[in-house]
Structures are given as structure tokens and as C-alpha cells.
Symmetry: D2
Subunit: 341 residues, 4 copies
């Protein structure tokens, strides 16, 4: 079976395991207060060109989203997101479980438009009854989006400008950040992320780690007593070192970027293969997730040898499915898939 089901179907990049094994018996304090976490933070600060970034490691993406949103919003505030955003659709109501509404705005190709955001905020504050509505207190975007698409630098700047005007933090979900920044044609780099966002996370789970996300705060805006808050949500890992060592390895010698680029290379080869074979692409994605429209016949046939994911069902005879590459995708698997198309 060829695995293109998702970007979390293998373990960790071998260099991460090597690091975990090498320092396995070194004794370290718990809860992230260890040398491995400290070293990883320094390397991330260097990679993102800012000495003063506040960093904290968490275990998974939904967990990071709910910790960020629930600790940075005040109780009367809601988070604004694209209707197709991960927090809007695929987190089992995790944000609402923390007591906050997700205000869902219309989106195209997974992207929140600065104009749509500005119009919403203007209407909100113009409404004489807005004290009876939850306040928009944060804007959530993902980059790449859930549809594999990317914001341009100008789009990020525009979103950031709207957020600044309304004094609302901009939060970027970077579950696949490496795959976004290493896309072929993007004009968005690490400096843009840091400049535009008040808070973002660098995805590890989907980019080479066993588990782990690096949360980054760019404005000295880490909530007071953050450790206590994280503990309160069951998100404080006793052996924080497990996350620190993995991120240390990911940000040693640019490994995070190298493996991300590899996944992009594999995805672009896949995309070319689909095009060549006449399979319609549902979205023109420049990143590691490719969305293809299959007939029921194609789906049944391919499904015998290839694992991919259901995405949505546009009509009775077709299905949109997702093929994902990752740091672990082998060129021979792409070739093998191509042969099956």
C-alpha cells in the first residue's frame, strides 16, 4: 500500500530519534525547564531572526490552538476565522469547549481576506447592539491553509494592518509552516511571519516530529502564569525535554527547511503527474497537500493500492480526495503512484 493519506503516518525524522537516544539518560528537570528546551528556543530565535521571541512547546495542533485562543482571549471575546479554518470545522468544538465562539467569515480557497475581515469589524462596531455580541478579540489564520493554499506577503500585511487598527492579535496556525515557507513561489519568509503575527506556531507533528508544536509569541505577550494555564488544560508535558530535543534537532543545520522542501518537491512531482494524466485538481495548491477530483471508478481502483483521504463530495459521482506528501515521502512512491494513475 502506498501511503499518501496524511503527513503524520510515519514516526520522526531519524535525526530527531538520534537526538532523543543520545541524551536519553541525561537527567533533566521536568515541565520544559531543561537545557534541551532552552537550546531549541535559541535555535528557533536564530532561525526567525529575533532574540526576543517567547517560545513554548506543546504537543499537538488542536491543543496549541485551544491553549492560545483560550488564554489570550478575554472572557467576552471570540476568535474570528475563515469558515473553513481548522478551528471552525475540524477540532470537535474544542474552542467552544473553552467557552469562546469562533466567528466564521466567508473564505475563498481557505483564505481569510483582509477586506472581508475589515468589513466585518466595521459592521460589528457600527452596530448599536454590539455589547450583546461576543467581541472579536483575535484573528486566526492558517498558513498553509487547510486547502494547501498560501497567503502572499501583501495579503498577510493587509490582514496584519486590519488587526493592528482594531488592536486585535493575529494568530497564525503553522501546523504545516515548513511546507508553506518552502513552497516554490511564495514571497513569504520567516521575517514576514514574525512581523505580521502576534503569535504563531511552528508545526512539528506534521513536519518530522513524533509530536510537538513550537508556540512563538512575538510581542512579549505571553499570558501571565502561562505554565499554570497550560497545566490546567492538561497540556503540560512532564518530560518537556521530549519536545525540546526534537525541535533542537529540527532547527540544527536547517533540517526543518530541508525536509520541508523535500515534501514540496514530492508534492510538485505528484501534481505534475496528476496533470499529465488528466486528473482535475480541485485546488491549485503549491504545498504538500494536493486535492484531486476522482470519479467513483477511479476512487475505487486507486483505493486498492493507495491510501489517501476523503475530502468532500461535490456530487453523486465524484469525490475530492487529498494526497499528502511529507518529509518521509520517497521518490519511488511518487513514481509508483504515477504508474497507477
Amino acid at each position: 500500500m502506498l501511503y499518501f493519506m496524511s503527513d503524520y503516518t510515519e514516526g520522526a525524522h531519524p535525526k530527531l530519534l538520534k537526538k532523543l537516544c543520545a541524551e536519553n539518560l541525561v537527567s533533566m528537570p521536568g515541565y520544559g525547564d531543561d537545557a534541551a528546551c532552552a537550546s531549541a528556543k535559541e535555535k528557533i530565535r536564530a532561525a526567525f531572526h529575533r532574540d526576543d521571541l517567547q517560545i513554548c512547546f506543546l504537543t499537538g495542533g488542536t491543543q496549541t490552538n485551544l491553549v492560545v485562543i483560550s488564554t489570550m482571549l478575554r472572557r467576552y471575546e471570540a476568535v474570528v476565522a475563515a469558515k473553513t479554518g481548522h478551528v471552525s470545522v475540524h477540532e470537535a468544538g474544542a474552542i467552544e469547549y473553552t467557552g469562546h465562539k469562533v466567528i466564521e467569515l466567508e473564505a475563498a480557497d481557505g483564505k481569510l481576506d483582509a477586506g472581508v475581515l475589515a468589513a466585518y469589524l466595521e459592521t460589528y462596531y457600527a452596530d448599536a447592539n454590539h455589547e450583546h455580541m461576543p467581541f472579536p478579540g483575535m484573528v486566526y489564520i492558517s498558513h498553509p491553509t487547510e486547502y494547501g493554499t498560501l497567503y502572499s506577503r501583501a495579503e498577510l500585511d493587509a490582514l496584519s494592518a486590519v488587526c493592528r487598527r482594531y488592536e486585535i492579535p493575529l494568530y497564525l496556525d503553522g501546523a504545516r509552516l515548513g511546507y508553506g515557507l518552502m513552497a516554490y513561489d511564495t514571497d513569504v519568509g520567516v521575517d514576514d511571519i514574525v512581523r505580521c503575527c502576534d503569535v504563531f506556531y511552528i508545526g512539528g507533528t506534521k513536519v518530522g516530529a513524533l509530536c510537538g508544536e513550537a508556540l512563538v509569541l512575538t510581542r512579549q505577550n505571553m499570558p501571565a502564569h502561562f505554565l499554570t494555564l497550560i497545566k490546567q488544560q492538561g497540556a503540560l508535558l512532564a518530560k518537556g525535554r521530549v519536545l525540546g530535543m526534537q525541535f533542537d534537532a529540527l532547527f540544527t543545520d536547517g533540517l526543518y527547511w530541508t525536509i520541508s522542501r523535500h515534501a514540496i518537491d514530492m508534492a510538485m512531482a505528484l501534481k505534475a503527474a496528476f496533470r499529465e494524466k488528466g486528473y482535475p485538481l480541485y485546488i491549485d495548491s503549491p504545498t504538500n497537500q494536493q486535492f484531486v477530483l476522482l470519479t467513483d471508478e477511479q476512487m475505487a481502483r486507486l483505493g486498492r493500492d493507495v491510501a489517501f483521504s476523503f475530502w468532500e463530495k461535490p456530487d453523486a459521482e465524484h469525490t475530492v480526495v487529498r494526497f499528502a506528501t511529507s518529509w518521509a515521502t520517497r521518490p519511488e512512491d511518487v513514481e509508483a503512484l504515477k504508474a497507477l494513475l
Copy 2:
């Protein structure tokens, strides 16, 4: 100043006050376990033609909505509502504060369409990832809607049929139920409400009471330990009698229907006046709320003598405003307003 700002700008219908005064010094147990509540419940059961209705009195509309939704949903469930529903927009995130998402569907004139609902539910269950999404566990509608519109009997039946098919309770917010059932052309009566809904409430606050809503459960489906749950949300009134006596008076000699019909008469007179004077109606509302499109000049001029509510701003030069009548609206006030148009 002429008051058309809302339907809760006066106290209570004098017969309710008379009842409160008459039995004021009679000693009764607390928390709704009193003779006045028992009598009111009996009268409501008679008015809605069902001996087995379970009834409970709460203080206000948002409170009733959050108690119903948070006690009847399981933790992994969300409530489905029109995008324009009160729970979606104007309750300050109260539902989300209880941990549950409001899944907002497109609506026309405030109404949730059975077809739209069915399509959503079908898509939801067809999605292979639906265990990562909150489950649709209840459907919320309001009647009249927030735009003053009404469901037809066929529409209610269709919604109810979809809910039954998916085994999801249908909850009807009847904050202005009297004004809906007493509209001139509606084919929906009390029996339809009871037949179609698993739970609904009969609004008191906006229909003649100082405060109070009568929650009605139609399928012996009152949550276990409901009193404890209500107390836990700070919604248990020590002197439950205050609500019981008012509903007893409202359902004595059909007062609830009489005063509701009066408000409809006043609203239809208002509507005729707007039409006669050439004011465009934003929505064709058959109930006590009338939505009118004003120019800025009209708004400023009328605003000097009349209190009405801001509704929304469709463009820079116009505003939609709401004029509400109620049990307390006097014919001479309608005449006076007409003279000012």
C-alpha cells in the same frame, strides 16, 4: 417621546400585577415548588391541549436558551441554528460559554429551511472525518424569528421531519410566541407547536410579564436533576412564585392571546401607515416587529420624537430601524407616529 423601541419598555400587564399584589402575603415554599406555579402549569397544559407537558419557569430568554441547550446537548454535540438566530448573534456568546458550538446555517428572512438543514446533516454524516467535528445534537429555531417572520405549518412539519429522521430534538424559541400565534394569516397554532417541537418556550418578558419564560417539554424529556442544573447556572429563582403567578394570570381567560392580538393590531396599523406614507419596509413582517428603511434625514427627524431601534446599515445613506409594538402599545401612539411620518 413615543416608545416603539422594543416590546419590553413597560412593566407588566395590570392583571399580572394585580395577581402579584393579591397573593403577596401568602406564604409559599421556594424554588417553584408552590401552588401558583402548579396552577400556571395546569393552565398552560390546558391552553396547549396536552396533559403531559413538562413545564418549568425561567427568568429571561437568553437564560432559557442557554439552560435548554446546555442541559439537553451531550458534551460532544452542537446546536444548529440560522445564521441570524438569536443564539448565533445576540447572546454575547452565551451558548459557547457553556461549551457548545452554534453551527450556523444560511437563512432567508431569519428562517431555517428544512432542505438546507437536511443537506447539512447529510453532508455531515457522509464526511469520513465527522468524528473530528462537533455532532449536530439539536436544532434551534425562533418563531417569530428575529426578523418578525413566521414559519408556515408545512415548514415546521418539514423541519420536524428532518429532526426526527436524525433523532435530533427541535427547540423553538418563543420569546414572542404570542405575537406569532396571533398573527392574522398564520396557519400555525398551539397544536402544531406541540406536535413539531421537542421543547419550546412561551415568552413572558416580551408579552406582558415583568420577567419570565415558560419552558415546555413535550416528550417527557426533561433532563434528570433539572433543578440542580438550573441552580448551577444561577437561573433558579428563590421566589419561583413570581413567575408562577404571572403565567397563571397570562393564561387565565386567554389573556396571553388577547394582549398578543392587540400588539398585532397595532403593528398592522403601523405597517399600513408606513406603506401609506411611502416608507419602504425592509421585510414583510406579519408580527409585532416592523423593519423600515429610513434615510438619514428621516432617521434624524423622527428620532427627535420617537424611540425606535437601530437594526442594520445597508449603505452609507440609509439605516434599517425596528419599530416594535406590544401588549402596552396605545392606539393613540400609533396615530401620533403616523402623523409624524
Copy 3:
């Protein structure tokens, strides 16, 4: 049947009903933004000798407690209370439902001791692991306590001093505040309450109102967007005027104090009667709640003619029961009860 079951078994003092009836048809804006609320606030400020008190009206005691505690605590904080406090025991877990722990300290006769509190806080901060515990973020006391007892001025000052030292607000639950301040021998007056507490409430439900509590903030410390927060908990009354008018009447010509003193007079007569007849008092209460130890035989016999409340069962043959007086207790009822002892 003689009613001594609680202090909320009758309606409202007739002067409150008179006020509600007199202004019943005056149109006023909703949500507490009306002239009646404004007038009531002014009168309360005058009665408590401080022009700058921030005041807000809520419907009931548990509701007020949960609104205050959940809006004034930060997410990582807990409220500290006597083990026997109302928030600890009798609110169905309402505080925890808002996400906050009640840290329960040992108490004698319902009172939290400043020394016990200081020792707890000292130990807490001395604990190297205290970041893994909820922070003590507020102190809750009730006056009178749930056992009818009262703090002395020195005790209140001592509690206040500890709170100031740790920069924790002191919150006083005054569900029966009038009965406390009008006790015969207390040295605590309104100025002490205002000086010692950061926030407190003046109980209306148990002291002459149909419903309603007046929340008072003494340090310009009303939470931002308080109306939105209240709405979010379903605690915002559409017709805020109902609460405003009642508190206006309660604080006109000192009615609140007069009726409170009446209840004390009745309670002291009752206490004397119990003593005279040889019934052991379980607690020496100077306020409107009297706790008496009954044999099973006495309980059965009295229960035929008198309504009182179960309190606790110290052993198999005895029961502690509560007799409560109120603004509504008639001297002839006390006499009648005495005759039955």
C-alpha cells in the same frame, strides 16, 4: 400552618409593589439603562456614604456569586471560602461550572478566620510547586454567615488586611446584609463594609424584594464590558427597571433598615421563647436565622403546625432545624409558635 421555613416565602414589601404599580406604564429603555435603576443607585450610594460606588442589579444570590467570581477572577485563579460557605456547599457547583475552584478553609460557626486565611496564603506561596496549583485570587465571606453569625469590625478589618497584603479582592455575600447590619449588638456598619470589601452585594430577595440583589464595587473595579459578561451568563434582565424600582423603594426613607430591624426583633423574640422553653440553640445567632436542636418527637409534633427547615442531623435521635424570620414575619405568628413549644 406557621411559616418559618425561610426568608423568601412571601412576595415583596408592599411599598415595593406600590412602586412597581405606580410606574408600570412608564416607558423606559431595557437592560438597566433606565431612570429607576439610576435613582436606586444614587440612593444606595447615599446610604453607604460613597459617591463613587459602582452598582449593578442582578436577580438572585447564586447568580450574583457566580457572576462576580467568574468575571473578577483570572482563569488561573480560585476563590477562597469557608468550608461552610454558600459557594462551597449550596450552589450546586455553580462556581466550578464557571471553571474556578473554591478553595475551602476550615471555619468555625460559618466564619473565615483571618489567621487561618493568612496561614493558608503563606503556605501556598512558600510551596515551590505552587505554579501547579490554582492561585488564590479572591476571598469570599458571607455576612451574616450561613449560620446566622456575624463578623466583628475587628475581624473584618483583619480579613481585609490579609487580602490587601496579598492583593486579593475581598468579596462579601450580603444575601441577608440588612439582617446583619441591624442586629442588636453588632459593631459593623455600612462604612465598615465599604472600607473592608472590594465588592459586596446587598441582598434584596431575602430582605423584602420579589427578586434582586444590588452588586456594589468599591474600588472602581467593575470588570470591563460587564454588561456583555452578564448577558453571557444569562443574567441580564431585559426589564432591569423591575430591580431598579424595588431597590429604589428599599432605599427610600430607610425602608431596608426598618424591615431588617423588624426581622431581628422577631428573631430575638423567637430565640427568647426557645430559651425560655428549654430548647437548646445549636448556634448563638444574633440574626434572623435561629438554629435549634430538636428531638425527633419535638420535630414530629411541631412539624404538624409549623414549617421550618432541615439543617443537619448530628445524631440518630436529634435534628438541627432552622427557623427564619423576615420583614414579613408577624408578631402574632411568633406568639403562636411560642404557644406550641
Copy 4:
């Protein structure tokens, strides 16, 4: 520096790392639906002698506690625990954050007594006002307790009997379960745990894993839609395989028991050393945590070469500290510590 600070200061037992490395590049589905998890579950069922145990892997102890308690309690219920229980004291209010009260009962040496529990439950249901209190809906115990102590088989049976009588599930927090079951003199074995408990967890984090706890349900009582509930709390690991592989290794050839016994051997050697050198033991602990009373002078001197944990401060001149052993403790470190005493 000698590390006796806690049982989570090293990585994982080498056999677990070996397993992770060996299967690292095998593609598997996400969210625990993989062969490694399935195999681990089978081995746990075999080790606990019951084919029908329902098992689920989570990341950490507090996370497991909050998931279990918040998904198994109904909204009006609270969990009953020892006053010194981990959920009562050291989880930053995590249980309350999910909306549930922890009812704290008096405990001796960390243990909840069946008699104390029964008395509480009896009093609770005898109280005529118990509908105003949160319902006791689960009993939480830890084994070993937070003080290293153990229940006897008779004590566990007695607790279980009380729970059955009141139809309340008994939940056992086994963060250090291996260290409890491998203690020298305990009469409690795996069959007792399964027989007495409705739900328990087998701690991995503190017993040889990088992270991970195995939640076990013994009565086919896994909550409906458990995956959705876990996701909603941010506790669903994308690469569930990481937990599965580790537990598979832990329960291969009895590794879990062997390494637990090793920690006990080390702890008993430490205990003997303390006794020999005249250091008073604060508690007579038969498990891997040893609590010693140090003078300030001893604490300062030992602190230069040994890492241990602060526990509590009984008076101004003494401190109770904890020395913990684990699967990773080396005999030479125990000898080195002994030499320093």
C-alpha cells in the same frame, strides 16, 4: 549532581526507544487506529487477565484525569477525592476548569477511607437540600498515593463496595501503578485493580515512557464518541502510534513489572540508608517516593550535590523533601547519596 528529584527526569527505557526506532518508517493511520496501539492493547489485556478491557492511550497524568472525570461525570456531578489527592491539589484547577467540583474528604497518609466515604455519602443523601449541592458522581483515588502509600486489598474492596452501593464509579489514578504493584509487601495485584475499579490508568510517563498513560475501562463503560471528546480537549495525539509502541514495549516480556521492581529495590535501599543515618522518615512509604524530614542545615548541605523536591514545611527549621527513584535509578547513585548523608 545526583538526581532524585522525581521519576520523570530521564527519557525512556531503551527498549521503548528501540521499538520507536525499529518501526519508525512504517506507515500507519493516525489517531491511535494503528497496529502498534492494537498490539499494545492486547498485551495489556493479557497482563491484566481480562479480554474485554477497553483501552485508550493518552499523553499525561493530568490530561488523563481531566478527560476521565469530565467525560464520565454528568454535568450536575462532582468527583470525590482525598483532600491530598492530585486532582484536589496539584492540577492547577484542571478538573474545575472542566466545570466539575472536587469534593475533598479528609485523608490520612494520602488515603481515602471507605468509612469516611460512606459517611459522606450517607450525610449527603440524608440532607433534604441535596438537590442544591453537586451530586457525588465518581470516586477518585491514587495508588500509590501522592505520599507513596498503598491501599491494602481489603481497603480497596471496601471502597469499591461503597461505590457499588451508591452506583458511583471508582477511578484509580495509576500514574505510578507499577511502583505500587511491585512493592515488597502489598497484597494488591492486577486482578484486584480490575475487580475493584470501573476505570483506572497505567502510568507510562513515570514508569519508563517518554510520555503516555494507558486508560483502562473495565465495565464496557467507555463514553460514547470518546474520540470526539478527547479531541475536544486537545488530547488526541495525531501519531497515536508513539504511545502504542511504547506501551507495546512496556508490556512485552513483563518489562513494566521488571523496571518497576528495580525502582522499588532502589527506594528500599535509600530508605534503609536514611534510617541507618538517623534521618527521620516523614511517612513510611513502601514505594518509589521517600519523604524525609531535613533540618535546614542538612537541606543546604545535601542540596549542593543532590537534586530532590520540596514537599512541605512543617516548621521554621525543618523541611520535608522527597527523594524519588525510578526505572532509571542506578545503584551507584544510591550508594553515592548514602555516602553524602
